[in-house]
C-alpha cells in the first residue's frame, strides 16, 4: 500500500512538471538530447554506498551511506535474465533496472589460493562457512527506489556437489530493500 501511494504522488508530480519543460520550441527540441544524456550518464556525482555482511548463504544489509563521488558506468541493464552470477541492481518505482553492477560472488564457499612460486597456477579451495562484508555502490538518483541482489546457487546435484559445487543456474533475487531517502 505504501508503495502504491508513493507511485501515485510521483506520477502526479511528473504530470504537473511536464508543461513547464515544453514552454518554448527551442527547449522542446533540446529536451530529447538532454533526456538521453541523463539516461546514459555514466558517472553521477552522488552515490549510495551499501555495506552488507554475509555468513554462509545469509546476506544482511548493514548500512546505507550517501557519498559525493562518481560511480563507474552501469553493466548491461537488459538481456541478463537467464545469466548466472552475482549482481546488484538499482530499480525505479516500476521495477525497471536503472543501474547494474556485476560482481565476482563475494559470498561464494571457496577461496582463491595463489602460488608461492611465480609461474605456478592459481587454484581454488573449498572454504565453507565463510563470513565477511562486501560493499556495493550505486548512483544516488531521485528515480532510484530499491536495490536488489541476485545470485546463482551452487548445484545441489552433479559430480561436483557438496563443497566443490559451482553455480551453474541462472541467478535469482536473494534480497530487495528500499533505499534511504
Amino acid at each position: 500500500m505504501a508503495k502504491s501511494r508513493k507511485t501515485s504522488k510521483k506520477s502526479k508530480a511528473r504530470k504537473t512538471a511536464k508543461p513547464k519543460k515544453k514552454s518554448t520550441k527551442s527547449k522542446a527540441r533540446k529536451a530529447p538530447a538532454k533526456a538521453k544524456a541523463r539516461q546514459t550518464s555514466p558517472a553521477p556525482m552522488k552515490a549510495m554506498r551499501l555495506t552488507f555482511s554475509y555468513e554462509g548463504d545469509e546476506v544482511k544489509l548493514i548500512s546505507q551511506k550517501r557519498t559525493e563521488m562518481m560511480v563507474p558506468p552501469s553493466d548491461p541493464v537488459t538481456g541478463f535474465n537467464k545469466q548466472k552470477g552475482f549482481w546488484a541492481e538499482l530499480k525505479n518505482d516500476r521495477d525497471k533496472t536503472l543501474y547494474r553492477h556485476v560482481m565476482h560472488n563475494p559470498t561464494r564457499n571457496d577461496a582463491e589460493v595463489f602460488p608461492e612460486t611465480p609461474g605456478q597456477s592459481i587454484s581454488r579451495e573449498p572454504a565453507p562457512k565463510r563470513k565477511g562484508v562486501f560493499v556495493v555502490v550505486v548512483p544516488d538518483t531521485d528515480k532510484g527506489e530499491e536495490v536488489t541482489l541476485s545470485r546463482s546457487s551452487p548445484d545441489e546435484e552433479g559430480p561436483e556437489s557438496g563443497l566443490r559445487a559451482l553455480a551453474s543456474t541462472p541467478a535469482t533475487e536473494i534480497m530487495r530493500f528500499k533505499l534511504k531517502k
Partner: protein, 288 residues
C-alpha cells in the same frame, strides 16, 4: 587483540590526479607495521602504486586515478601464522588481526575486513577499491571488498588480479578448480555467465566480444580434444589475438575465454584485450 593493538594515523595521497569526488580512488591500508616501520610502508605503498600504474591499461588511465595510503600502526609486526597450517605459530598483536591459514588454507591471508572498511570509509569516503598491505614475507592474500596481500614476491600480481574481480567484475579464466588432474570439471553446463570476459556462446555473430574478433581468426580458436583434462595445446595464433579459446570459469570445455592468456588466468601476464576494454570503459568517465 584488535584496535587496542595499534592506532590509525591517517591518510596520505600518494598519487594525485585531482579531487576525490571526480576520480577513481584506490586506498592502501597498512597492517602489521609497527610505528617505526611506517617509513617502510610508505615505500611499499609507493612501489605498489608504481607497479599498478605501469600495468596496462592503468598506464593510460593514470589521470583518472588517485591513490591514498592510510597509515595504521600495530604493536607488533607481521600476521598470525598458525601452526595447524605448518606456520611458525606467531601471533603478533596487530590492528586488523590479519591471519594466514583462514579456513585451514595456508596461504589464505584474511583480516577483519569490516574494521578495514570502517577506517577507509572514515578517511577516504570516496574510495572505490581498498587494499590491505600486510607486513609479512610469507606468500598469501585474499580477495573481496578488501583485497589483501603480503610482501612476498609477486604480491602485487595477486592484488591486481583481485582488483579485476572486485572492481571490474571479471571472472577467472583458468579452466580448472584445484588442478588439471581433478575430475568433475569437464563440461560447463550452466547458463551464460554474467561476467564480461567469459562466455558459453561460440557464435561469432553474437558472442560477447564479437566486435573484437577479426574475420581471419577461427572461431572457436582452440578446442579442447579431451574434456576430462585441461587443454595442453599451445596457442595456435599470435599473442594478443582475440577469439574464443575453450576452457575457463573452472571448466575444461563448453566455456570460452577471449585470449589464450590473461592476468585473470595466470599471474605475471597482462590483462587480455577484452579485460582491458572493460577496465577502460569503467574508468574513462573518471578522466579529466
Amino acid at each position: 587483540m584488535g584496535t587496542s593493538d595499534g592506532q590509525v594515523l591517517g591518510p596520505t595521497k600518494i598519487v594525485d590526479a585531482g579531487p576525490p569526488e571526480k576520480r577513481w580512488n584506490i586506498v592502501i591500508v597498512s597492517e602489521g607495521y609497527r610505528s617505526d616501520e611506517l617509513t617502510q610502508f610508505a615505500v611499499d605503498a609507493q612501489q605498489f602504486a608504481d607497479a599498478l600504474l605501469a600495468a596496462a591499461p592503468f598506464d593510460r588511465l593514470r589521470p583518472a586515478i588517485n591513490i591514498y595510503r592510510i597509515d595504521v600502526t600495530s604493536k607488533e609486526s607481521g600476521a598470525k601464522d598458525p601452526k595447524k597450517c605448518g606456520g611458525t605459530g606467531a601471533k603478533p598483536r596487530t590492528y586488523f588481526d590479519a591471519s594466514f591459514c583462514t579456513n585451514k588454507i595456508r596461504r589464505l591471508l584474511v583480516a577483519k575486513n569490516s574494521r578495514v572498511l570502517k577506517v577507509v570509509d572514515k578517511h577516504v569516503p570516496q574510495w572505490h577499491v581498498a587494499f590491505l598491505s600486510v607486513n609479512s614475507p610469507i606468500s598469501g592474500g585474499s580477495g573481496g571488498s578488501v583485497a589483501t596481500f603480503s610482501k612476498a614476491p609477486g604480491s602485487v600480481e595477486i592484488a591486481i588480479h583481485e582488483m579485476g574481480h572486485s572492481a571490474f567484475g571479471l571472472a577467472d579464466e583458468y579452466e580448472y578448480y584445484s588442478n588439471c588432474a581433478e575430475s568433475g570439471h569437464n563440461k560447463h553446463s550452466g547458463s551464460e555467465p554474467s561476467q564480461p570476459n567469459i562466455t558459453t556462446n561460440k557464435n561469432r555473430a553474437t558472442t560477447k566480444w564479437r566486435s573484437m574478433i577479426q574475420a581471419a581468426t577461427p572461431v572457436p580458436t582452440t578446442k579442447n580434444a579431451d574434456c576430462a583434462h585441461c587443454d595442453p595445446q599451445p596457442s595456435p595464433v599470435a599473442v594478443g589475438t582475440i577469439g574464443l579459446f575453450e576452457g575457463a570459469d573452472y571448466y575444461h570445455c563448453n566455456v570460452y575465454r577471449p585470449e589464450f592468456d590473461c592476468r585473470m588466468r595466470n599471474l605475471h601476464k597482462p590483462f587480455c584485450g577484452v579485460c582491458q576494454q572493460v577496465i577502460v570503459k569503467k574508468l574513462t568517465p573518471f578522466l579529466p
